[in-house]
Symmetry: D2
Subunit: 361 residues, 4 copies
């Protein structure tokens, strides 16, 4: 059972609602003697936090994280690491008018039907605010993996499609990703994206996105068949992110259109190095990492909170309509980039530890 | 930890290699007093078993299942249900020539790198033969859900794309699915598919496929946020199937291209019935079932065993090449239909029981 | 894996060190719509908190608990309930002199050997301060069970042996338990215990204790064979409490001395009521509750921190000696009573929910 | 959730009823490249099997075990190891007369109340026959631990009390244990035990026993606080064995009677060796192994099937009585020795792997 806990050995449990006093995360199973500071976490959290450009929600949150346990004299001790982020820029009154209505596309209806009660303020527990906790957990996983695997280990995410506009991933420019508010890897498309998203925003609409996350320097052998396959756990990890509706590993859904010859990633040995001639597999064969780059992409649906009026019902079963004003991301997919990276780190560390237990013990 | 176990309350553990004496499955957490016979299981297994048409592998396996425990006087007792299927049409000598070579696209390389040992005969544990166990477990889950939810509960899978040829899902004809060897729901495309796949087969090549699985009559409220979301568990379930590389829930990867207005599934109350005007969400909001049909699709890559010669290496790190003769499915995706259905049953039952525990207790 | 998480469906995760900023607990899987206030928790925590009589440590801790999530408008929402207790009366300098020494009977040596690092202040994570979190979790479980089972459900714990002095459990007086600082159920022994423990305390020594916890009004059918037996989980729960070295169910270790006739709890039906003529089984048969009172007892070893000098080594492997001054319980077993009750509530609720899932769905 | 599965990384799932076609076990998470033969398992199973002396049940079972998967060319492959033992000497008609009656002390009543159905033949799933599966799993764990830790690792169990007759554990003679049908470690008591148990048997009665299991050569650092403590998991493991009612670690329940000076196991360094002056802790401090011998003891209640008539009720709620003839162990505790050893191996291996994952990765 794992309601609010993710992971097997490296495990994190998140808690908190959008408009409660705080949100937080308990990381368990972290190896001891890893150097961690609040600053390490803050760097990652800052990449996700809202209000950083005109392309994201204007809710201002410091997302300042405090470590309450598990780190002693700057190092992890092997005991649970509890982290807390206080909620600050909360305007619960914004939600008074819609507290009895179910916003289409949101989980208002299903939470109410399931639990018979829901904290409607800012979406309560269903809010993407929960993902800040994942980013904090991911920052710890990243530190551990760097400590174990060295600097060759690296995870980079980017937005590769914004609404109807795909970018050219063959022009992937890692440095550029960090310099634009879209986490876009393709400099040539950036102007178009800006114009497109401003249009979306102005009209009070929203758009979806595709995010790609790549991991380099991952050792061969991570992933435990059959029901702890690496790709299975990555698919679960990404699908658990708010608003995600599809996940691809390597060629993903496009694999259906390939024939056997195209799909087989041929192998060639060069000295001590094993080279694959292509990477349709996304670095995973039979659920186990092959040493190639791990490549995962996922689609985020458009933000459900939009200006135009939509038909819906209220909690009393009456027909009504709703139009959501307020501070929303026109494309919530953009801020999913650091979240996808965080989940990649967490899954890889979990499998790294699992593999150590079973195969390196 | 769950290496070879799937599920949380309704759990199954599979074991066995392609060319060992048998494969099998232990189902745990099954509610008591459910009528189950070996025949119930056999019906489902027969839909997956090989050698049924010229479009699947010619390996002949009865896939005859025996129940060894957990059923007494025709009813489940609440104790583990152990099932066994003996392997029969095993030609291990076919694999002698390739026992030291890593077949590209298969998990030969990664199993060997991870474990330092592998049963090369027929792919050993990585063989899709393991999925027979899932179908058996799914048959039990199906019986339980029918017992709990009645006949309105129904799961139907189909192949909606065969290689480069998609079908028209608006022509979905459920009865037709059961009458053609492709599990194709669209009568109008069937001739084309036959011709296409015979061509693929003749040339010793292979192709991928997309499978769609729909569940009707699923109650509202299944799925436990955040890390036991229904879509998360379905994504994991489908991605764990051999050769699957992508999973969509509802509009899936296409969600990226929608805008907020298109994506919001509006809600209208008609008397006692809550109707959604569309189903981009695939029946799941915030990880919880909404009462709409659950719609999942997934891509299966082309069969990796093909006739044409591919470059590869052997276990000693030497460059070599490989050409796989033998009895293989030209499109392994076809037989994934009953497997996808089985996983859908298992996930839904698991969440049905979980929801009962937390919300109906 | 469950490092710092206890439970299967009703699960709690604890975190925090004795001298860190705070300790806390995340309860997951709690059913929705249960009325909970911080006051409900505080009542239970007050029974465990230190500094309440001359028979416990003089460390003064309010143990004031705050709920940070999962409760909305006074009711649980089905989402995780995060609770925090700030540490206040911390005197870390008391530990400076012994920071490199391993206190015999404590876990200093093993934590250091395992993790290579330890927070030595107040015992860090190994401190019994962690048990405050369990009491908070138990208070929630108690509320849920009362809501499900009504007032006939009741858990009462008591100290039945203090060092070498056992009490007469046939004189069990429930009201008296709440009126004496020993949680003693037998009024006739109380004077003797006072004198005995004051003597122990004066000499700077310590003594062990036996605690018995009884649960009434538990439904038949809780407990899931084979590896989720109710007695198995209760044994684990009690053994996980600091300093516990033995656990009995019903007649416990004394069962060895009974013969078959004595041990068989005969059954008689009286109208609608099934009566057992004795309760050697402690209310559990084959791992499943029988409807009789659940009776568990456990032994707590004497407090390891004592005044007299003991031989030990330091972290550099040098022989040395240690004498522990400071604020310690002369009999840490006394404060284990509310902890044992809390664990009983948690285990019973967990099995109540599990049983609902499997057998009442 | 873990209904019929034990363990976290090294996990086994058991299935099967006393009078079904077979019982069995699936071991998952076993490290690869460990030499295992069916003979290795058979040696251990032979120590538990019935019908070996006049002091155990006369049911004749070969308990011949077959390995169906997970071992290739004599070595484990890292995939699940499925084992099966067919039931042979089954006399189900013996149970016809009592099929509707609940045998006092047995789990007939609680299984029926929980599940509403039960396989009454030979106790069905509640039969101690299930423990053969544990012994098989334990045999694998033992092989793995010997491979990792060498021959200094050793687990030995013995009966230290038979009914009212304790033995002198200071006379512990390991070789003698293997030479007497009681697994008694004290040669001086053996004659008395023989006479005593023959008397019990003749009268159709039964008696309880205490079993002590010692593990030598266990590395420091096994056990993960707080809720995967080594002693917690050992207590759970032993309490899960049929008819066990109490578990002690080290001084166990007697700890209550010690004072702080007696209880503190002082530590002295001699060269490279850390020596504890006593072992009240049973080799575990704060839930972590200290490098001392692990010492666990547990009480097994007297066999519930006895000749003398006992009052009970039937499944229709009618008062009746029962007298159980047939083939029963006069002291079922004796055959618990290899079971206790097996559980010790399994728990230690599980923690060895867990510790590797978290602390040695």
């Amino acid at each position: 059972m794992s309601f609010n806990t993710f992971g097997k050995i490296f495990r994190f449990t998140t808690w908190g609602e959008s408009h409660g006093p705080a949100i937080g995360c308990v990381v368990d199973g972290c190896p001891p003697n890893i150097k961690i500071t609040e600053k390490d976490l803050q760097i990652e959290l800052n990449r996700r936090k809202p209000g950083q450009s005109k392309f994201t929600t204007q809710r201002k949150e410091d997302d300042k994280v405090n470590i309450l346990s598990g780190v002693f004299e700057g190092k992890t001790t092997g005991t649970p690491i509890s982290m807390i982020i206080y909620n600050k820029d909360v305007r619960s009154r914004d939600y008074e008018t819609i507290k009895n209505k179910f916003r289409p596309g949101h989980a208002d209806y299903t939470y109410f039907k399931k639990y018979g009660i829901r904290d409607y303020r800012g979406g309560g527990r269903q809010s993407a605010r929960e993902t800040a906790s994942r980013v904090a957990a991911g920052a710890i996983a990243k530190k551990v993996l760097h400590s174990k695997l060295g600097s060759k280990y690296k995870v980079v995410g980017a937005v590769t499609q914004l609404g109807i506009l795909g970018c050219d991933t063959s022009k992937w420019d890692e440095k550029f990703i960090y310099k634009n508010p879209f986490f876009c890897p393709d400099k040539s498309i950036i102007k178009l994206w800006e114009k497109y998203l401003l249009g979306i925003r102005k009209s009070g609409s929203s758009c979806g996105a595709i995010i790609e996350v790549r991991a380099k320097g991952v050792p061969t052998g991570l992933g435990a068949p059959i029901y702890s396959k690496l790709d299975m756990d990555l698919a679960a990890a990404m699908m658990s992110i708010n608003a995600v509706k599809g996940v691809n590993i390597g060629s993903g859904m496009n694999s259906a259109q390939l024939n056997g010859e195209q799909n087989s990633d041929e192998i060639i040995q060069k000295g001590k190095k094993t080279n694959f001639q292509s990477n349709n597999a996304g670095g995973i064969l039979g659920g186990i990492s092959s040493g190639q780059d791990i490549i995962v992409s996922f689609a985020v649906k458009p933000t459900s909170s939009i200006l135009s009026s939509r038909k819906t019902i209220d909690k009393f079963g009456k027909n009504t309509s709703i139009s959501v004003r307020g501070r929303h991301d026109p494309c919530v997919g953009i801020r999913a980039v650091p979240i996808g990276e965080a989940m990649m780190h967490c899954v890889l560390l979990d499998h790294y530890l699992m593999n150590t237990a079973q195969c390196k013990s």
